[in-house]
């Protein structure tokens, strides 16, 4: 076939988002056409979900991109790739790729996720080898110097958490990766676990070396079946290659880990209910203190870190904490994998230094709405994050910058809504979701969320006085809940009420205003 002359390798993502858009059929059609001299790889996604299924063909070491490819286009694509209407040029030269600073996601979409040799050839294990050579205190120093903070949303400094666990005296300690990525609009954990699973394993092993923990768990949500399969396979391969086990890379140090699957409870993304769930109990929140760092899994010192935090550690140990800290703004150092989602033209994962404004992210990177209508609201940080109107689009992306605007960055999910959104309905949904997912321990969350739905209904039926009641209820939930579910549900509710009060008027008045 003349069209494939010089092509050595073809990539079709096996990522779940690509699969949801037909990547399996595309890969099957390609496999049926090509000869044995071309290697077909199911890679992770590059993060350009708007181009999925994104096919790449490698020729002379350069990977040319085509997308989004539909199964019926495969024949014409393979016959004449260069002049195909879906040709996008070399993948590294696409603006979306060029504008990023990919540190945590450097290998994602590039390598075969389960090819250990390719992982190593692309810089894998460098961080772990440095960690083994430098010793416990030096690892803690590097992670502290990097300024890395919890990427799950709380933003707690990782170096301080690790130091607390390292200093705790106990016969056993644990590293737990929180892979219960339940926030709507987030998928960074999923993408890295499916696309570059050894990075997470390496990061957990380094965390073990730094703290003296010898056992790790990945608590992975059941809604991610592909990530579960890839991570389980990767753990077995890492063990065969001596990255896990009683003698890590011949160092005499021990660390091993296991994948545990969640059971569909959103609240288990909260670290203490996650630990209860991991112990085989109801996923009910625990009061803090004691901190999990001192009394965590099975009452023993435990590091609970988000997947992205742990997956960033190998790069910090490979390149140095100061190099990582050179990116970012203020106390938000390094890079953040933005997940641009919802009604957006160019949606996907975009890793960049902290500091880009929300407006740049939504309008420049995201390209505005998919529907072509004006952007009206953006929810940042998942179902517990605030809704931002255009008036706040100058907010730089950073932990403190968002909290100063009564919001949060959470796990860096950004959900875009066009002007057809009903913000009163979104506020109601936030309360409804809280009621469904509440673990039931705190009264303000368990009962407050139900009353919240009713109170929003009253406001929208014309009872303007109920706004004060809703505000008071939100204050009680914020002050009286143990965890972020009850404590942060007021963020979306109150931000909707504050910035979009017209959507809380009775339907008759809203129609009259239009």
């Amino acid at each position: 076939m003349a069209g494939l002359d010089g092509v050595t390798r073809i990539f079709v993502p096996g990522d779940m988002a690509a699969r949801s858009l037909g990547a399996d059929a595309v890969a099957e059609a390609i496999a049926a056409e090509i000869g044995p001299d071309i290697r077909l790889t199911r890679n992770g996604t590059r993060g350009m979900i708007f181009l999925e299924p994104l096919v790449e063909m490698e020729r002379d070491g350069i990977r040319h991109a085509y997308g989004p490819v539909e199964p019926h286009e495969v024949a014409s694509l393979l016959a004449d790739p260069e002049s195909h209407p879906k040709a996008l040029g070399p993948v590294d030269e696409i603006d979306w790729m060029r504008l990023q600073t990919r540190l945590t996601f450097a290998r994602c979409g590039v390598i075969d996720p389960l090819d250990f040799a390719e992982y190593e050839a692309h810089g894998g294990l460098k961080g772990l080898r440095n960690a083994l050579a430098s010793g416990r205190q030096a690892i803690l120093d590097e992670v502290t110097a990097s300024g890395l903070r919890g990427r799950g949303g709380a933003g707690f400094p990782t170096g301080i958490k690790w130091t607390t666990v390292a200093r705790a005296e106990a016969p056993w300690k644990y590293i737990v990766a929180n892979a219960d990525e339940g926030d709507s609009g987030t998928f960074a954990d999923r993408i890295v676990m499916e696309g570059d699973p050894f990075t997470l394993i390496e990061g957990m092993a380094i965390a073990g070396l730094a703290t003296g923990a010898t056992q790790g768990y990945v608590y992975l949500r059941s809604e991610y079946p592909d990530a579960i399969r890839v991570m389980e396979a990767a753990v077995a391969i890492a063990r065969e290659n001596g990255v896990l086990g009683p003698d890590i890379l011949g160092s005499g140090e021990a660390f091993d880990m296991e994948i545990r699957v969640g059971a569909g409870a959103y609240v288990c993304g909260e670290e203490t209910s996650l630990l209860n769930s991991l112990e085989g109990k109801r996923g009910v929140v625990r009061a803090k203190p004691p901190l999990p760092a001192l009394e965590g899994f099975m009452g023993r010192p435990t590091v609970v870190n988000n997947v992205v935090s742990l997956a960033t550690v190998p790069c910090i140990l490979a390149e140095g904490g100061k190099t990582y800290a050179a990116h970012g703004i203020g106390k938000s150092l390094g890079t953040i994998p933005l997940q641009i989602a919802g009604n957006v033209r160019f949606g996907g994962l975009f890793e960049i230094a902290f500091g880009m404004t929300l407006g740049e992210i939504v309008d420049k990177i995201g390209g505005g709405t998919a529907s072509g209508r004006p952007v009206r609201a953006v929810q940042v940080g998942g179902p517990l994050g605030a809704y931002f109107p255009r008036a706040l689009f100058d907010t730089p992306f950073g932990y403190e910058d968002f909290s100063s605007k009564s919001g949060l960055i959470g796990h860096a999910g950004i959900v875009v809504f066009d002007d057809s959104v009903d913000m009163g309905e979104m506020a109601r949904f936030a309360m409804e979701f809280c009621a469904i997912e509440s673990c039931g321990k705190c009264t303000p969350c368990r009962i407050g969320a139900v009353r919240g739905v009713e109170t929003i209904d009253r406001i929208r039926a014309g009872d303007a006085a109920a706004k004060e009641l809703l505000t008071d209820l939100c204050d009680t939930m914020t002050a009286g809940s143990l965890c972020a579910l009850g404590g942060f549900t007021p963020y979306p509710v109150m931000s909707a009420l504050r910035h979009f009060p017209e959507d809380f008027q009775p339907a008759s008045q809203r129609e009259a205003a239009e």
Binding site: A17, G185, P225, R260
Partner: protein, 157 residues
């Protein structure tokens, strides 16, 4: 699937519990295996599980009832899960929700009378840049509208 007898259930639980012996906090993995074996968590499995782990039957029941994934009644041959979260709503998810409920004649967490399909809500599949999304058994489907989801569920037998 015919209803398993109490002794069949007890035997399966014994095998499954033995597989997980020595693991820390094995209750969730055991329940997941029991559900994979029988399609649901049979009432008759709770006492043997409790005995295998030396905990109370009430504790097993409490865990089963806490998590959305565990079911004490058989479900349909196919399970359709439709995302109801914000990112899918922003892309027209409400119309997909209504479309699938109408196509199947079901409300959330109901099963067709012939045992063909169970309809469940799900709160985020992590495919949020290309919604509205659903899974049909283990197969993900994105960029849905009311007609496409109706077509997909009509194919299920």
């Amino acid at each position: 699937m015919t209803t398993p007898t109490g002794s069949e259930v007890a035997e399966a639980v014994a095998q499954i519990a033995a597989m997980h012996a020595g693991r820390e906090g094995p209750l969730l993995p055991i329940l997941q295996d029991v559900q994979a074996r029988f399609g649901h968590i049979p009432e008759a499995s709770m006492q043997p599980i409790a005995e295998a782990l030396n905990i109370g039957r009430a504790e097993v029941h409490g865990v089963v009832s806490f998590y959305h994934d565990f079911h004490t009644e058989p479900r349909g041959r196919h399970v359709v899960r439709v995302c109801r979260s914000e990112a899918c709503q922003a892309r027209g998810g409400r119309a997909v929700e209504e479309g699938v409920r109408e196509a199947l004649g079901l409300d959330w967490n109901e099963t067709t009378a012939d045992g063909r399909v169970t309809l469940e809500p799900v709160y985020c599949l992590g495919l949020c840049a290309s919604g509205p999304n659903a899974t049909i058994d283990d197969r993900p489907a994105g960029r849905l509208d009311a007609d496409r989801i109706a077509g997909l569920v009509a194919e299920l037998r």
